[in-house]
Symmetry: C2
Subunit: 150 residues, 2 copies
DNA sequence: ATCGTTGCAAACGGTTTGCAATTCG
DNA sequence: CGAATTGCAAACCGTTTGCAACGAT
């Protein structure tokens, strides 16, 4: 019952007449493991540790491929930079993002999902996907701006 | 009981020892009127029609100022580009965005707002603001991808 | 008059592209 | 083998910065 991202990706590539390369596998793996800030630059830097020959362009080209294939999507971080996150995750997971330490807490709520569908229907809007992010401060950073630090 | 963006902005600038200039007013006005794709480039191009001397740098600097002041925030569009939206709007307004024609429908739902607070509390998370966007197809564009047109 | 602000053009930094060498199937 | 892919470096933007002229208080 587990979905197998690699297998799905391989099938997609085959169907498109594209090739499964070491680099594409490395980058997909990176996104699957990444829990945060997966910017093109960080992906490139981190993967170079194991594969020094990996080129920047390949990272960008692969991310674009994954995005077009629907396996990843671009996300905007609260600091204004952006990166990618894979879309093999379960149902819909939304984010609570700490503006101090940037911790990302995932949440999902069936009632909210249902209300979204109701609202969409009311406007005769056909929902395809959504993004729901709550920005604030996590337990550790407290309700008030960090003191002393920064 | 109406908030007056211009007045609030003026007071903010005064408090910071900054000046209210023609350019800053123009750019704030633009954001207040803009209903969509307010990218730096588009803002610059559109405002140049009335003020040919307006420089790119001024647009970027003012957007940064508005963002830091908390009057605007950067948003990521579904095509990957990004722009700004002002934050003077009433309570919270969220968006339904048509992936075909890019129409933006605003919605707000008290129950969803309340659930967000509940979820946040459960994680001892202090919410400051949120972004909730539903992507799909509007009434006009129908549930299926546009045919013929593109 | 004084300092912040502006427009310009050059500098930057992230992203894309052309191309010869390489690799997957 | 042949088509797709890669790495590199150059080309491309969108964004930032230094600076002299300008403008708001």
């Amino acid at each position: 019952m587990k979905s197998q991202p690699h297998e799905v990706f391989r099938q997609y590539l085959e169907a498109q007449g594209l090739k499964l390369t070491k680099q594409r596998t490395e980058i997909l793996d990176y996104l699957l493991r990444a829990r945060d800030h997966a910017t093109p630059e960080r992906i490139h830097a981190d993967l170079r540790a194991k594969d020094p020959m990996l080129g920047r362009a390949t990272v960008f080209r692969t991310l674009l491929l994954l995005e077009k294939a629907g396996f990843a999507s671009k996300i905007l971080f609260s600091d204004g930079s952006h990166g990618y996150e894979h879309k093999f995750a379960r149902p819909h997971h939304d984010h609570m993002i700490c503006v101090d330490c940037r911790e990302v807490i995932e949440f999902s709520n069936a009632t909210i999902e249902r209300l979204q569908d109701q609202i969409s229907r009311r406007f005769q809007f056909t929902p395809l996907w959504h993004r729901h992010e709550i920005f604030g401060r996590c337990r550790k950073c407290g309700p008030k701006p960090a003191q002393g630090v920064k």
